[in-house]
C-alpha cells in the first residue's frame, strides 16, 4: 500500500510539474523564436534550415529510436522533391498543398517498397542495402524523362495556398513551412512518446527480446521506416516549394551522408538534436560558401564527422542532457 501511495504521489507531482517543465518552456521559447525569426534573418535561409531539420528529424526517428541506420534517405527526399516539382510545373493551376501531399505519398510508397526489402537484414547490411537502393533511384532520376536529367526541374511555381495565401512572398511561405515543420515535429514527438514508440525503443535495445515478448518487430520496423520515409519526402516536397527547384543533388548519396552528419552532430536519439545539427551544418555551409574556404566544405564536413564519431558521439544535445543529468545527481547527493 505504501508503495502504491508513493507512486500516486509521484504521479501527482509528475502531472503537476508537467505543466511547467523546463522542456515545455524551451519548446515555447523555440516556437516564439521561430515565429519571430523571419523578421531578423533571411527567410529563405531559415526555410532551408527548417526543411533540413525536418529531414534530419525524420532520419533520426529511424536511427535514434529504432536503431536502424539508413544510408539512403536521400532517395525519399528526392522522390518528394521531384514528384512535387513535376506536378506543380506541369499543372500550373494545381494547389501547392496537393503537390506536397502527392510528393509525400510518393515517398511513402517508395518507403514501403524499400523498407520491406531492407528490414530483412540488420546493422551494417541494412545501411548498405538502403544505400544501394537509393543509388538505384539516383540512376532512375538521371534517366527518367520527367526529371530533365542533369539539369533538374527549374522554376517550379510556388502558387497560392488554398487560393488565398500568395506563396511568392517569402514571409508568407516561411509561415507555411514553419507550420509544416511544427506539425511534423509534433507528430514525431507524439510517436516517440507513444506505446508504439516504446516498442521501437525496445527493438533498438534488444530485438530478440522484443520478439520473445511477442512483438512482430518486422511490422514495427516497417511502419517506422515508412513514417520516416514519408516525412523525409515531405521535407523534399517543401524544399522544392522553397527553392522552386528539384535536382539530382537531392538524390545523391552525399545527401544521405549529410543528413547522418546533421543528426550525429546534434545528437542521435534526441528530439532537438537534428534541429541543432541541421542548423549548424546549413549555417556552416552558408558561411563557408562565402569565404575562401568554400571549396573545402566537404573536407571540413568529413573532419567534423570523424571528430563526432571519435569524441562526442552523443552529439551536442546529448552531451547537454548528460551534463544536466550529472548535475541533478550531484544535487540529490
Amino acid at each position: 500500500m505504501a508503495v502504491l501511495q508513493q507512486d500516486h504521489q509521484a504521479a501527482r507531482a509528475g502531472s503537476a510539474s508537467r505543466r511547467i517543465t523546463p522542456l515545455g518552456v524551451l519548446y515555447l521559447v523555440l516556437f516564439l523564436l521561430g515565429l519571430l525569426a523571419p523578421w531578423v534573418a533571411y527567410p529563405v535561409f531559415l526555410m532551408k534550415i527548417l526543411c533540413f531539420a525536418l529531414f534530419a528529424s525524420a532520419f533520426n526517428l529511424l536511427l535514434g529510436f529504432v536503431g536502424l541506420l539508413s544510408f539512403g534517405h536521400a532517395a525519399f527526399l528526392a522522390t518528394g522533391a521531384y514528384i512535387t516539382g513535376f506536378l506543380l510545373a506541369e499543372y500550373p493551376g494545381l494547389s501547392p498543398a496537393l503537390g506536397i501531399v502527392a510528393g509525400t505519398l510518393g515517398a511513402v510508397v517508395l518507403g514501403t517498397l524499400f523498407g520491406a526489402l531492407a528490414i530483412r537484414r540488420q546493422g551494417i547490411y541494412f545501411a548498405m542495402i538502403t544505400l544501394a537502393l537509393a543509388q538505384m533511384m539516383f540512376f532512375f532520376f538521371i534517366q527518367a524523362p520527367f526529371t530533365h536529367g542533369e539539369d533538374g526541374l527549374h522554376g517550379v511555381p510556388r502558387g497560392e495556398l488554398f487560393g488565398v495565401f500568395d506563396l511568392a512572398d517569402n514571409h508568407t511561405l516561411y509561415y507555411v513551412v514553419f507550420a509544416i515543420f511544427v506539425a511534423a515535429f509534433a507528430l514525431i514527438r507524439r510517436v516517440v512518446h507513444s506505446p508504439f514508440g516504446q516498442v521501437l525503443k525496445a527493438i533498438r535495445e534488444n530485438e530478440p527480446r522484443a520478439i520473445s515478448l511477442g512483438y512482430h518487430t518486422d511490422a514495427y520496423k516497417l511502419v517506422a521506416f515508412v513514417l520516416s520515409a514519408g516525412l523525409a519526402g515531405l521535407a523534399g516536397a517543401t524544399k522544392t516549394l522553397v527553392f522552386q527547384l528539384a535536382s539530382l543533388g537531392d538524390a545523391s548519396w552525399h545527401m544521405s551522408g549529410e543528413v547522418i552528419l546533421m543528426t550525429l552532430l546534434g545528437g542521435v536519439g534526441t528530439l532537438l538534436g537534428p534541429l541543432v545539427g541541421s542548423g549548424l551544418v546549413i549555417g556552416l555551409q552558408h558561411q563557408l560558401a562565402q569565404s575562401a574556404l568554400g571549396d573545402w566544405v566537404s573536407v571540413i564536413l568529413g573532419a567534423i564527422f570523424v571528430v563526432c564519431v571519435l569524441s562526442f558521439r552523443s552529439g551536442i544535445i546529448g552531451e547537454c542532457q548528460r551534463w544536466i543529468a550529472r548535475r541533478q545527481q550531484r544535487e540529490e547527493k
Partner: protein, 295 residues
Amino acid sequence: MTMILGIPLMVLFGQLMLGLINGAFYALLSLGLAVIFGLLRIINFAHGAQYMLGAFAALLGAQYLGLNYWAALIVVPLVVGALGIVVERFLLRRIQHLDHLYGLLLTFGLALILEGTLVNLFGVSGSSYPIPEALSGGFKLSFMFLPTYRAWVLVAALVVCFGVWFLIERTRLGAYLRAGTENPELVQAFGINVPLMVSLTYGLGVALAAFAGVLAAPLYPVSPTMGSSLLIVVFAVVVIGGMGSILGAILTGLAMGLIEGLTKVFYPEAANTVIFVVMVMVLMLRPAGLFGKEA
C-alpha cells in the same frame, strides 16, 4: 559476321570482356571489404577513396618520381596499405568496442576528407595514365580483338584474388585470422598478438584496394570521384554475395561484372541499375546473400 540473338558476335564478346574486367575490379574491392569486415567487423566506407588513392599515387609517382608501372604495382599498395595501418592504429582502434555502425560512419568521414582534398588539388575532370609499353597492343582472336592490357588486368586480378584466398583459407596465418574473427580473446590467450593482426588485416584490405587502383589507372580516367560511385556498386555486390566467404566475394564480383556487360548489349538503359536489381531479387529469395550464412 556471325550473329547471336541479333547481336554481332564481336560486340557480344567485346562487352563480355569489358564486363569481366569490371567484374575483376568488383572482385578485388569486395574481397578487400570482406577481409576487413572479417576481423574488424567494419564496413570500410573509405575503400573507394583508398582505391582512388592507389590510382592517384601511381599517376603522381610517375609524374614526379619517375615511378614506372611495374614498380607502382608493388610500391603503391605498400604505401597506401601503410597509411591504412596508421588509420587503424590511431582512429579505428578507438571505436573498436562500439557498435559497428560507428566504424562505417568514421570511414565515411575519412572518405569525404580524402575525396574533397583531391578534388581541390586536382579538380574533378581526371587525367590519364599511359598503358605500359610491354602491355600495349593486343591479340587478334578469331571472334574478337583482345587488348593485352585488359587481358593482363584480368589475369593479375585473378592471381591476387586467389592468392589472398589461399593465404586466408589454407595457411597457418590465415587460420589465426579466422580464429581471431570467431573469438579474439581466446586467440589472444594463446599468445597471438591480435591487435597487430587487426592492423595488418586492415592494411592488407587497403592495399588490395590500392592495387586495384593501380590496375585501373591506365583503363579509366584517374579522378578523385572514381572510387565513390564504384564503391556503392561493390556494396551491392557484397550484399548479393553475402559477407560470409572470401570465395563468394570473388565469384560474385566476376559474375556481376558479366551480368552488367550482358545488360549493356541487350538493354543498355538498365546497365547502371542491373546489379541493384539483382540485389533486390537476391534479398527477396535469400536475404543472407548467395554465399552468406544466416546470421
